[in-house]
Symmetry: C4
Subunit: 249 residues, 4 copies
């Protein structure tokens, strides 16, 4: 991680980051690509472990190709600490503005997760169907960019749009973006990856349950809270498997 030297950026670096953490961030990119949550688009970030006013994310690159050398450091206005003329994601403001609004959040995934996109354009809300999707219990808001910016290219390409998305997200773990994708946040990189994968899975299962044509029983909020707490204690199991698949296949 060479992002600890400030030569051309507008902000001071938060300092060196342990290689194991960078490895986790790289793994997160590849894991989500491997699960089809990310395709050639989308991005994953982590807050700087030593400096809450900085975050780390790849230069503009397909997630499947990301290595440690591609990780850049940004301040929360999403200015690069050291750009070295690397191309940056247009939508990095999603990350900076959510980190500003949510001090307890340390990892963010933005994706076009395929089973989730339909819920972003439908009047049918995404709801937790089984315990693996329990974290959805607070409800899943849909960010309608037209309400804040009228007709756009749908991208969150400014601090203002990032802040508007953060307001829509509120204190929840997932927000959908109409006609675009979604954003998933968590306190750690493994938990953000877990939530992104099971948001996709829960969405697919909910579609299928609806298509059966009968009534559907969703999780009660209390069930959601309890199951979410339990799942938080089991993250090490999938994370071990997922990292092994992408780093030591």
């Amino acid at each position: 991680m060479s992002a600890n030297v400030t030569t051309s950026g507008s902000a001071a670096s938060g300092g060196p980051v342990h290689p194991a953490l960078i490895e986790d961030l790289v793994a997160a990119n590849r894991i989500l690509a491997g699960h089809g949550v990310l395709d050639a688009y989308g991005h994953v970030s982590m807050r700087h472990p030593a400096h809450p006013g900085r975050y780390l994310m790849s230069r503009s690159l397909a997630p499947e190709l990301v290595t440690g050398d591609d990780i850049m450091e940004y301040d929360l206005d999403s200015n690069p600490v050291e750009s070295r003329e690397r191309v940056m994601f247009l939508e990095r403001f999603i990350h900076g503005e959510v980190y500003k609004a949510r001090p307890e959040v340390n990892a963010i995934v933005h994706s076009h997760s395929p089973s989730v996109v339909p819920f972003g354009v439908s009047s049918v809300p995404l709801r937790p169907l089984y315990h693996m999707g329990a974290f959805l219990h607070p409800g899943v808001p849909v960010f309608e960019i037209r309400q804040v910016a009228g007709m756009t290219d749908l991208l969150v390409r400014s601090p203002e749009l990032g802040a508007a998305l953060a307001r829509s997200l509120g204190d929840r773990p997932v927000a959908l973006m109409r006609g675009h994708g979604n954003v998933v946040v968590a306190a750690t990189v493994p938990l953000a990856v877990f939530r992104a994968i099971y948001t996709e899975t829960n969405a697919r299962l909910q579609m299928q349950a609806i298509n059966l044509g009968g009534s559907v029983t969703y999780l009660e909020p209390e069930e959601g809270r309890k199951a979410e707490a339990t799942n938080a204690g089991t993250i090490a199991r999938p994370w071990e498997l997922w990292k092994k698949r992408v780093l030591h296949p």
Copy 2:
């Protein structure tokens, strides 16, 4: 299999188990992961071949990663014979309590099999659609944990909940768990794997048949009984293929 020495557990071991049987249990884990019946969660157990009061199952680990060294031995109260501080599955009581209630059962799969979850939350019952799903002919009950424990994290994390699930299962091969997954039982490991895979497949085909919008003809119970008996004689064919794929790919 080192589970034949009692140092820290609360129960005596059922004795050494032939490596070929352990290999089958390991293969079962990987086969079900390979078919997408298990993801990073879920588990497979077998009853101890020499001691009906003991069963064998991996320590808490993603099924795809299980090796013979990860297999632990439990008594039917799901106490480990020798824990050696290994982390255990929270839901091992599914296995212990079903083995208590069903003396003829020697293998159990608990999964979040993706096409089956929707039937666990829908008012539309899972039914045998074709001969490969014939074993579903006695009907597929849905275990509603709320009826026995109110608002929970949905996990079968105690002997009492395991016993309640076993009562819901009754003498059938498969029970769904609302908002969670399912449990599949059989007299042998290969048959439990077969049933878990074709429960998933039958569920997917049933969804599609319903979506066609016409009337659907299901198997008659007598057809189910006859086809199930026939299929039982052909298990060696898929088992040979599936083991070869995971053990000698």
Copy 3:
């Protein structure tokens, strides 16, 4: 192919078969497994090139594992020329009886092709949706085994049942088997494989078209006849690809 010596069978062999033809039959097994038309079950046969009263098919074995050494020879009553105590498919009578009824047929696939099973249990008929499924234009009958044998295990396990299925098939290329699977026939092995693959694909596309909820335009019979004739001239292209994938991956 060692099936040219009669030691224990009830019928004389049709004589040696060119290895390239055996290779095509082996490839057909693996191609259909690779496309998911066959799983661990199902079978492919070819008529003996020198003796129309004999056919060739694997011993009871998962199609993905079939090699030239597994190919057995049968007479049209489905007696083996030389059994050598090999286990035979219970449903080999599908092949023998269809070869009797259809002199122009030289290759047969029996499968539980997943997208086709739903059409076998639904009141909605399978119909050609696009030119690749043009061969379905004569209509796709559904064989209801109850009409000829009452409550069964659904398997075509006798010459009588095979003959009944052949009557249901009539002069068409595909028949569905209610609660079971389907049978696909053609003049050559590559064409039978082509038809089995595009029966599966057409079924999946038809499901999706129906699910869109609007009206659906199917091929007219004349379009079907013309497109089928054209496609027959292009079989070499997919066959080259498919064989290369399974024989020289």
Copy 4:
């Protein structure tokens, strides 16, 4: 690229083509096969970079198998510059006639893209659902071959049919072909590949959104125009990934 010598063809060559461009055309074939947009059928072409009256496309071959040596050169009447008795695609007139009608188009994909075929036979129109499908904003016409030629084999096998398809396409990027497939055009090979992949994806997501049963919000034309312009600037990112996967896996 040996297509710069005229020995047996009816037209003069447009001259040698840089190997990097031929590599892009080869990559396009393999990328689209890898994404399931093409199976053993379908084709991709590019206009000759130095001579707008010529185009380049593989001989009749499954796209997954195409190499640089398989690329042939054609004039816009789809006569080969040098046939060397290679088999040509029956439907090459799609390419020649669209190049005639659309001077700004330099790359064309014809496919049976699976999620798109249902929209070609349904009364429900394909519409842009999310920003990745923004290029669909001008509407997606359906070419009904019956209107120009009555009962056919559905193939665009003549200059007249190619011209009729080009009229149906008009100035749009995508046209569906009823009971057959679709045609996608763009100014560059990477953009044509991008559009073919996201036409498939948008179609799948639209099906799912419709199946949820609620109301669906599509992109407004202005959103479509703006998002399309933005996406055009990001093509390098997926193209780098896709090429790497097929050329240096």
